[in-house]
């Protein structure tokens, strides 16, 4: 009976730091594969002694990999736990490692993207921008802090619990419906903030005026009485509708620049 192979704290610390370089060699063929392989190197070195086994493990983690960076340490933790089982148990089904990885990267990317990219970043940016438009340095700093404190915490504890609890942890969370609830909270807050930002950060007003029997009618005042910020709201939904109609972002950008210049030249905005 050989001695049981076990990862050390040092190895996991190394995995944590390496996971930041996930997209270092991003490519169209297998996306973040080399980055993930690089993340797993301390694990492979610790668990496998024979060159043959090391080579197999490296190849295993050079397969296609693509997820949102913030959840990659969680996947690395779970993968490390499985590699450890694989190194100690001859009957372990090696192909299950990549099967689990592939099964995790899609759903976790979805969660990570909507929580971090779609929500937290928007809230942090919204607050940061509202200060930075006045030239206040607190703006960019607050933006970085608000985003990165949760970012680093999820990376750190994701790796830790991913490794110690393994695949079961995610199944349990999924069963209790906790993840769905967190997602629903994130989406709700995200939409509320985007709504608030459309009202406060999109500056569209018209200088149009008419004379009706000597009385001056200011169009903007009438619009404000109907619904404040009705122009920003309308513009946002027109662009949203065009996105759904599959207009590309570049076309929309160029279109809006020309539209802005022309409509100002005519005098409507």
């Amino acid at each position: 009976m050989t001695e049981e192979k076990k990862l050390r704290k040092k190895d996991l610390r190394s995995v944590f730091w390496r996971s930041f370089a996930l997209q270092g060699a991003f490519n169209y063929e297998r996306m973040q594969n080399l980055g993930f392989c690089y993340t797993m190197i301390p694990v492979i070195k610790r668990l496998y002694e024979k060159q043959e086994d090391q080579s197999l493990a490296l190849k295993r983690h050079l397969e296609i990999f693509n997820t949102t960076p913030v959840v990659s340490p969680t996947i690395a933790g779970i993968t490390a736990a499985m590699e450890e089982q694989n190194a100690n148990n001859k009957d372990f089904d090696t192909s299950s490692i990549n099967a689990v990885k592939t099964a995790l990267m899609g759903p976790l990317a979805g969660i990570g993207d909507s929580l971090f990219w779609g929500t937290l970043r928007i809230i942090a940016a919204g607050i940061g921008i509202s200060l930075a438009v006045q030239g206040n340095i607190i703006g960019p700093l607050l933006f970085l802090l608000l985003y990165n404190i949760p970012n680093i915490l999820v990376r750190f504890f994701g790796l830790k619990y991913g490794y110690s609890v393994g695949v079961n942890s995610l199944e349990r969370i999924q069963k209790e419906g906790l993840m769905d609830k967190i997602m629903a909270v994130a989406t709700t807050v995200g939409l509320v903030v985007v709504g608030a930002m459309v009202a406060t950060m999109l500056k569209v007003t018209t200088p149009l005026k008419f004379n009706v029997n000597g009385a001056e009618v200011v169009i903007q005042d009438i619009l404000d009485q109907i619904l404040p910020n009705i122009l920003p709201l309308t513009l946002t939904f027109i662009v949203f509708w065009m996105l759904r109609k599959k207009f590309s972002i570049s076309k929309l950008t160029i279109g809006i620049i020309f539209f802005g210049i022309i409509i100002h030249w005519i005098g409507i905005l």
Partner: protein
């Protein structure tokens, strides 16, 4: 000018490496890079303001999945730099940053294509379990990504600043004013992209909660965000829990469709 060009190239380099090496800490965003550019060029405040405006425009643009978005790093750094150097302010930043970002995107695509070569090299080094060489294969692409923004930024600032300033000065005033208007309209794209990502039929109402709260009150975004958090927790954790006993297991959450049991 040489020192400034070097430093600005370095800022762009840090920006691009954020997604490559630093696990996306948001250092790549115009809100952060704009401030750094301002610091280097001696006009901190303008840098922050321009950064905020570019952030508004590009907030919705994301590199989700394998798609390659416009290069907001090169676009943001050069746009902010030229705006400060020419003394013209935000509207010029925007007029320059948007086209530069689209142009610079092609370099990023090129690097991602070239990287495939190093992936294949890594495959062959993995055969002999050569850890050092496999590791080297990640560092070369990192260096390529760095150079893909450092070189254009450095050269553009060193050689292009005067040309660009002259070019800007020759643009008629009405067009520049129109650019300002266009700049005010452009964030609509970012917002629309975000709505596109977040919205579903039953969630749409929350957009209007935020919109109306901001329109009819003087609350700022921070306050509305915090109230939104409380509201979301009430809806998802408190009201839904009282519903828990009566709800069948496989039934999807249909909170906003009025199935709440107030027992």
């Amino acid at each position: 000018m040489l020192t400034q060009a070097l430093l600005l190239g370095l800022i762009a380099g840090i920006g691009i490496l954020d997604s490559r090496l630093f696990g996306v800490l948001m250092l790549e965003r115009p809100l952060v890079l704009g401030a750094l550019v301002g610091l280097v060029l001696g006009d901190f405040k303008t840098g922050i303001i321009i950064g905020a405006q570019l952030e508004l425009i590009w907030m919705g643009i994301a590199g989700i999945g394998s798609s390659t978005p416009p290069d907001v790093v090169t676009g943001g750094v050069l746009g902010t730099a030229f705006a400060i150097l020419s003394g013209k302010g935000p509207e010029v930043a925007l007029a320059l940053a948007v086209p530069i970002a689209v142009l610079a995107q092609s370099l990023g695509v090129l690097v991602r294509v070239v990287n495939t070569y190093f992936i294949h090299k890594a495959d062959s080094y993995a055969k002999s379990a050569d850890f050092k060489k496999v590791t080297l294969m990640i560092w070369i692409p990192v260096a390529l990504f760095f150079l893909s923004v450092f070189i254009p930024t450095f050269l553009a600032v060193l050689l292009g600043a005067e040309t660009v300033t002259n070019l800007i000065n020759s643009v008629p005033k009405v067009i520049l004013e129109g650019m300002t208007i266009a700049g005010n309209l452009l964030p609509a794209i970012g917002f629309a992209l975000l709505i596109d990502m977040l919205i579903s039929k039953k969630m749409a109402v929350f957009f209007f909660v935020g919109f109306l709260a901001a329109s009819y009150s003087s609350l700022d975004v921070m306050a509305i965000a915090l109230i939104g958090v409380c509201m979301a927790i009430i809806l998802n954790f408190i009201m839904n829990d009282s519903n828990h006993l009566t709800k069948k297991k496989d039934e999807p959450d249909n909170l906003t469709e009025g199935e709440i049991n107030f027992d």
